[in-house]
Amino acid sequence: MMKSAPLISFVILALMGLMLDQFLNPYLQRTMALVLVNIILAMSLNLVNGYTGQFSLGHAGFMAIGAYTSAYLSTHWVAPAAIVPHLLFFIFYSLVSGCFAAIAGWLVGQPSLRLKGDYLAIVTLGFGEIIRVIILNSSALGGARGYFGIPGPSPISFGGLALNAFYSFYLVAILWVLTCFFVIYRTISSTHGRAFMSIREDEIAADSLGIHTTRVKVKSFVLSSFFAGVAGSLFSHCMNFIAPSTFSMLMSINVVIMVVLGGMGSMTGPILAAVIISVLPEALRPLQELTGQDYRMVIYSLILIVLMLVRPQGLLGHKEIWNFWRKTRVE
């Protein structure tokens, strides 16, 4: 991959965003913003579930930490009006949120990553719930009422072209999507990434080759929590309102579904699945209006069961999207 690929893709996506900003209605723009948040969530969970082979069910907890950190920061430390520092402030909020989530990830990961499989799933689920219960009981963060009035980035104008607030959010979001993508992509092709994957393939063999398995797992977990925190931060600025009930176990399972559907151990698979899973509820809305009942979760759970029976490797398996039109086989 080219060295300037991140920059080029940023410019391309930023230009695409101009079109999205001008031609999409606010409803679709909001959906688009959620898609971007979900993409970060799916990619970061994929690092732990897909590449390191550790099944975590507590992603929503780290997302909640990020979301609340960012909400608190942005309401207490308001961004200046000038355009460039304004956006920088939002990047800064999400950076700090990510760091907080990463610290939480380190604290949770230390004891729990010594466990395996089902136990790890239950313990991470437990920690996710504990984080939620703590937020629920802290009045400084709004408790069960939730946190109101979180500012989003304000609109910027480009020469004569007046843009919506969506574009400001979009710029911050794609910056993080690309950071997440390239950090994870380059990590997994480095020595660290090889260590992650060796644990997935065979933990005992990795251990006997001198890999400190717990430390490596914690490393992957911390990186993943960082991006979960960033996604949470973006989520809070996108929704302008967050409540503890948003970050329940269902949110974690939603992300797990994205990773499993896309293919654990593929970079582009979870991205594809994140788009599908974020758009699906909107596409199913007519069905919901027709019958008056919410079939969404029933459909999701059936997708999980059928997927495991028919195509357990997910949509893409270990492959990437570009492997399908370029006939090279990459492991």
Partner: protein, 300 residues
């Protein structure tokens, strides 16, 4: 003092119910080494089956012993069938695939039962009809022993006794224990693994069915999501006692029920549900094999 003994009585009767559900988790884990996340939702379906039976025949208006046993029987039957079907449809084709896939399927089945339950039964909680009239059975020095607590304890002990006979004193039970020790060798010796696993699911699910009616009578509010909380608590009970060990599940269930009752009685009731995760995390960090469990050595 009286209050304390009252809490102990409540704790034991709740603990017996946790133990019944924990036994289902532990048996499946003993044989397949995976956590059947859908177990608690099977219990939920059992509760709704007896609820609809009671509503259809309007049993709540004239509580009677025979109705109670009919409801118990129906709930057990429905749960056993559901457990059998889930194993056959969702878990059996994945027997040879990686653990992670089975885990994901189990979560999928659990979610499916919960949300299909919401569609079928409605989201709002339902009131479980009283199948038996509750009365003070006897009182010693100001402590009232309610008939319901005695019935719950009695039925649970009976169910555990039957389970004990089946597992330790029958041919099928011997086959179950053989499969849990080493399924490959058991298969070589002519034991039909599929039949044993089906039987384990039927046995575990019927215990959940019994627990469903007992809980329905004690806490008469049932809803499609009721399995989630009960499931985590019973699972923690199973891990606490040592997953894979039957006496461990009973012990864990009792400890769980008692400690929960003490938290509600002497601390704050909001901590009740956080307690289970707290116990779980502590036990998994300090003694992952549980109180009565044996360590499985992982071989390459």
């Amino acid at each position: 003092m009286n209050e304390f003994i009252q809490h102990i009585i409540n704790g034991i009767s709740m603990g017996a119910i946790y133990a019944l559900i924990a036994l289902g988790y532990t048996m499946v884990y003993g044989i397949l080494q995976f956590i059947n996340f859908a177990h608690a939702d099977i219990y939920m379906v059992g509760a709704f089956a007896s609820y609809y039976l009671a509503r259809f025949f309007q049993l709540g208006e004239h509580p009677h012993w025979s109705w109670f046993f009919i409801a118990l029987g129906l709930s057990t039957l429905v749960c056993a069938l559901l457990g059998f079907a889930i194993e056959k449809i969702a878990y059996r084709p994945l027997r040879k695939s990686p653990k992670l896939n089975i885990l994901i399927t189990a979560i999928g089945v659990s979610l499916f039962l919960e949300y299909a339950g919401q569609l079928l039964f409605g989201v709002d909680p339902k009131l479980f009809p009283p199948l038996l009239t509750e009365s003070v059975l006897f009182s010693i020095g100001g402590i009232n022993v309610m008939s319901l607590d005695v019935i719950i304890l009695g039925i649970s002990i009976l169910a555990m006794f039957v389970l004990h006979r089946v597992v330790y004193h029958s041919k099928l039970g011997k086959a179950m224990r053989a499969v849990s020790q080493n399924s490959t060798v058991a298969a070589m010796l002519g034991i039909s693994i599929d039949r044993v696993i089906s039987f384990t699911f039927i046995l575990g699910s019927s215990l959940a069915g019994i627990a469903a009616v007992l809980v329905g009578m004690r806490y008469p509010k049932i809803e499609p999501m009721m399995g989630m909380l009960m499931g985590t608590k019973a699972f923690v009970a199973a891990v606490l006692g040592g997953i894979g060990s039957l006496p461990g599940a009973v012990l864990g269930g009792l400890i769980m029920g008692l400690s929960e009752e003490m938290v509600v009685g002497y601390l704050q009731s909001t901590y009740r549900d956080a307690l289970s995760f707290g116990i779980l995390i502590v036990i998994l960090i300090f003694k992952p094999t549980g109180l009565l469990g044996t360590k499985r050595i992982e071989k390459v």
